[in-house]
């Protein structure tokens, strides 16, 4: 059965009852990320979609407040009308996960979903200023606020962001938005192997040109972007955004600096926008539901080393975002979780999240990076403080 409360008070009532009876609740928004995390044995489902609508939007202050169940599309349309965007570029998981439905803003923050701009502009959690949520005792809690600088008490906002519905039902979010960049251009360097691309992206990031996207698309995936329209060879792509005059100057400077490394070409605003959206949504790996998909976050210079090491032992395909630090990795068959995580540790640490896999594989593979004992114990104690009865998605995040 699915509960769809239409007010925060109703949601609190449902949760209080569930806590009293020990009924386990799987919290969801639009269900577009329903396969994310470890499979949950929920008795009932609690949906935020009855809690919908933009509560307050102050474009001049760059702040929006919306109820958790508000569709992302509605938020984006309202922002677009005032030439603003969510700076963290939330990914749409539907293509990669093969799901349908409407992603909600609550789901975006509950899963801390970010995109290509994350490595310079921050993650969803960095834009989140305040929340309201119902904890596992059915109490309505307010954390944070609507101002950018706030160190008043413990930052429960960060704790709830990315907690995947295991600490509470987020009912309302207040977040910072930014002006839509006036224009964008992508500088493309062709023909670099993974290791060379990593070095070249580091060079670009050290320049004072404010690169806002740095991805490397190896030969195996390149043809699947922009309908195959990218030039010959591997593509290392660097995005510049901002005022027209400024972008033009910076693009010339970056292109000149990149010329020694390989043939340089440019994508204009519209192509650039499409390319980065396809990178954001991991389009090359869309529609292959039977192949496990990993999202790996490591130090930028470690990404290509990880892929090179794994390639010797497993059938994988990969491309890179975040200057090489975000590796999207599609496995031919087995997810090879143990092997992957051993290499991540050996290369300085990071984490791998299983985003997609057949039911049978998901049941056997910890979706989130296992944590050291002391950290796992701490996380479990925190979970106990917010959800004493253990009713929210038990087991969804390992160790919590």
């Amino acid at each position: 059965m699915t509960f769809v409360p239409h007010s925060e008070a109703d949601a609190a009532y449902v949760i209080r009852n569930a806590a009293a009876r020990g009924t386990r609740l799987a919290i969801c928004g639009g269900n577009t990320r329903s396969g994310f995390g470890n499979p949950v044995a929920g008795d009932e489902t609690l949906s935020s979609r009855g809690l919908s609508g933009i509560v307050d939007y102050e474009p001049a202050e760059m702040v929006m407040t919306a109820r958790a169940g508000t569709p992302v599309a509605e938020i984006e349309a309202a922002l677009a009308a005032k030439a603003q965007v969510m700076a963290f570029e939330p990914m749409d998981h539907r293509p990669a996960m093969g799901t349908s439905g409407e992603p909600t803003i609550g789901g975006v923050f509950a899963a801390n979903v970010s995109g290509p701009r994350r490595f310079v502009a921050g993650a969803a959690r960095d834009s989140l200023l305040g929340i309201r949520f119902v904890n596992g005792s059915g109490e309505i809690i307010r954390a944070g606020g609507r101002v950018m600088k706030n160190v008043t008490g413990l930052d429960l906002v960060k704790l709830l962001a990315g907690s995947h519905g295991t600490l509470g039902l987020i009912t309302e979010v207040t977040f910072r938005v930014l002006p839509v960049p006036q224009t964008a251009v992508t500088i493309l360097v062709s023909g670099l192997d993974d290791a060379a691309a990593s070095r070249v992206m580091a060079v670009a990031m050290a320049m004072p040109v404010e690169v806002s996207g740095a991805a490397h698309l190896p030969q195996s995936v390149k043809g699947r972007f922009l309908g195959g329209a990218l030039p010959e060879g591997e593509a290392t792509v660097l995005r510049l955004e901002g005022l027209e005059a400024s972008v033009a100057v910076r693009a010339d400077k970056l292109a000149a600096a990149m010329a020694p490394f390989g043939p340089v070409s440019r994508l204009a605003a519209e192509e650039s926008r499409r390319l980065w959206q396809e990178i954001r949504d991991v389009m090359p790996y869309a529609g292959v539901a039977h192949k496990p998909l990993w999202r790996v976050s490591v130090a930028p210079s470690a990404g290509h080393q990880l892929v090179a090491a794994l390639r010797l032992e497993a059938g994988i395909d990969a491309f890179y975002d975040w200057q090489g630090g975000l590796v999207w990795m599609q496995m031919e068959a087995d997810p090879e979780a143990a092997l992957l995580r051993r290499y991540i540790k050996a290369l300085g640490g990071g984490h791998a999240t299983l985003v997609r896999a057949p039911e049978r594989v998901r049941a056997m593979t910890p979706a989130f990076e296992p944590q050291p004992d002391a950290v796992a114990a701490l996380s479990a104690r925190i979970k106990e403080k917010l959800d004493p009865a253990g009713i929210f998605g038990p087991g969804k995040m390992a160790g919590a």
Binding site: G153, D155, L159, G349, E384, L386
Partner: protein
């Protein structure tokens, strides 16, 4: 010395064992790392919130994470409170000790462990000063963005404790947005690592929770921070207005227009006069309020942004626009701003508020602030980060007059409540400490605070870490 703000009663069982505790700590630390002579404890009795002071039981100044862990393990075993301390620059009393506490100072842990240009990170010990990170990475073309005014002295450990900001966080964010990882010692001496050179957390965002936790969740001993490529150029420009209200409205319009300068700082007339007298920065003295707007980037970019900003300022009746013509002039402009607190201290005692308000409420809150201070018969100087609504009214008073001091504290409390009622918060970057602890119930409901305190207990069930701070003394969970 004031006494309006109470500390927890010292645990007599701990105080009475002082000689034994000092002896035990001497076993754990090299001689130069332990301070216990009463005379030598005096420098640790307060921080930059000087109205309150307490002598600690002892001061440990460890050099390694292992020594920190040993001290924590010992204090945990014997129920000894611990007050962490960076450089002691807290404006909210975050580092003020208490009679039954060991101060754990990180000042001897001041090594820069690694600068990694390819990954744009620096890994440093917690006692490294904020500015020395930027100095260390400058040859590689990078800087560390958060820049509190005390950056010459304050440590990264303290910055993490208070989630410090600074003038330039309008564009680059505060500490939490620039922190990638920490090594930290939990209350029982366990050492954990959170984050690293990679982005985002596996599991709950404990790093985000630790940042700004005011030393209540553990002792950070190392930090990995994000570096940013230094901009090609930067130019601060002075905009003079007749009134504070005009300047405040101009700030809201600049942000609303979609331009995000790297910094927008605000000074009212008293602040301009104080800072100019100290720094000779070239601030105009014939205006009622001043904005320092800094733009950065290439020449073309700075020109384009400035043009739009000047247009907006004109609509708000700007009287003076003065661009810095050289690097030296630019440095002077910032010197004047960043020495505002120190310069004020030369002419008067003051307490500094730190409330943040929504931008649209700036003119209203400025006006109300003057009213409140006047009502108490005091003077105020306003100098703050306007671009993000983080206000710093400096309330001037005479510390030798207890009544004057009490009036200043009362006026300050009213101003902070005003900020909360306007949709803002008690503190933007200085932390709650002891200073704003008893106002927390004005911002939060009982349920809100209880939830925060429960999470605090998950880290420190016995409330040994910095126990007199942040949460009102009444209504705490039973230890």
């Amino acid at each position: 010395m004031s006494d309006a703000i109470k500390f927890l009663e010292p645990r007599q069982a701990v105080v009475s064992r002082r000689p034994a505790i000092v002896e035990d700590l001497a076993e754990l630390l090299p001689p130069e790392c332990l301070v216990h002579e009463p005379r030598e404890l005096v420098p640790f009795e307060t921080d930059a919130f000087v109205a309150y002071r307490r002598l600690p039981l002892a001061v440990a100044l460890p050099k390694t994470t292992e020594q920190v862990a040993a001290v924590m393990k010992y204090c945990h075993r014997y129920g000894v409170p611990v007050v962490p301390r960076g450089a002691g620059t807290s404006l909210s009393g975050g580092a003020i000790p208490q009679e039954d506490a060991v101060v754990l100072g990180l000042s001897k842990m001041s090594q820069i462990i690694e600068v990694d240009p390819a990954n744009r990170t620096a890994t440093v010990q917690a006692g490294v000063t904020n500015l020395s990170i930027s100095d260390a990475v400058s040859p590689e073309g990078f800087f560390y963005a958060p820049d509190p005014s005390s950056q010459l002295a304050c440590t990264i450990g303290g910055n993490i404790g208070m989630n410090s900001g600074g003038a330039h966080c309008l564009k680059y964010g505060v500490t939490t947005n620039n922190l990638l990882g920490v090594k930290m010692v939990l209350v029982d001496g366990t050492v954990i690592e959170l984050g690293g050179k990679h982005l985002d957390a596996a599991g709950y965002d404990l790093l985000g929770l630790v940042c700004g936790s005011e030393g209540q969740l553990g002792i950070v001993t190392e930090a990995t921070v994000r570096l940013i490529a230094k901009p090609e150029g930067a130019r601060p420009v002075l905009f003079g207005f007749d009134t504070s209200e005009q300047a405040g409205a101009c700030v809201a319009d600049i942000i609303g227009s979609g331009i995000i300068p790297v910094a927008i700082e605000f000074m009212d007339k008293p602040a301009i006069e104080i800072c100019e007298a100290f720094a000779q920065a070239g601030y105009p003295l014939d205006v009622g309020a001043l904005l320092i707007v800094e733009v950065e980037g290439s020449e073309a970019e700075m020109e384009a942004m400035l043009k739009s900003i000047v247009e907006i300022a004109s609509r708000h009746g700007v009287r003076t626009v003065r661009e810095s013509q050289s690097a030296m002039e630019a440095a002077l402009i910032w010197k004047g701003r960043k020495s505002a607190f120190g310069a004020t201290g030369r002419i008067s005692d003051y307490i500094c508020m730190d409330g943040t308000v929504p931008l649209g409420k700036l003119p209203y809150v400025l006006e109300k602030t003057s009213e409140i201070v006047e009502r108490f018969g005091l003077r105020v100087a306003n100098v703050f980060h306007a671009g993000d609504g983080n206000m710093h009214p400096l309330i001037l008073f005479n510390a030798n007059d207890p009544e004057d001091a009490a009036r200043a504290e009362e006026a300050g409390n009213e101003i902070l409540k005003l900020c909360v009622d306007a949709g803002g918060c008690l503190t933007g970057e200085h932390g709650v400490g002891i200073e704003k602890r008893d106002l927390m119930r004005h911002q939060y409901s009982d349920a809100d605070l209880n939830q925060q305190m429960a999470v605090r207990s998950a880290f420190d069930a016995g409330w040994l870490l910095n126990p007199s701070k942040v949460f009102p003394l009444e209504g705490r969970p039973a230890a």
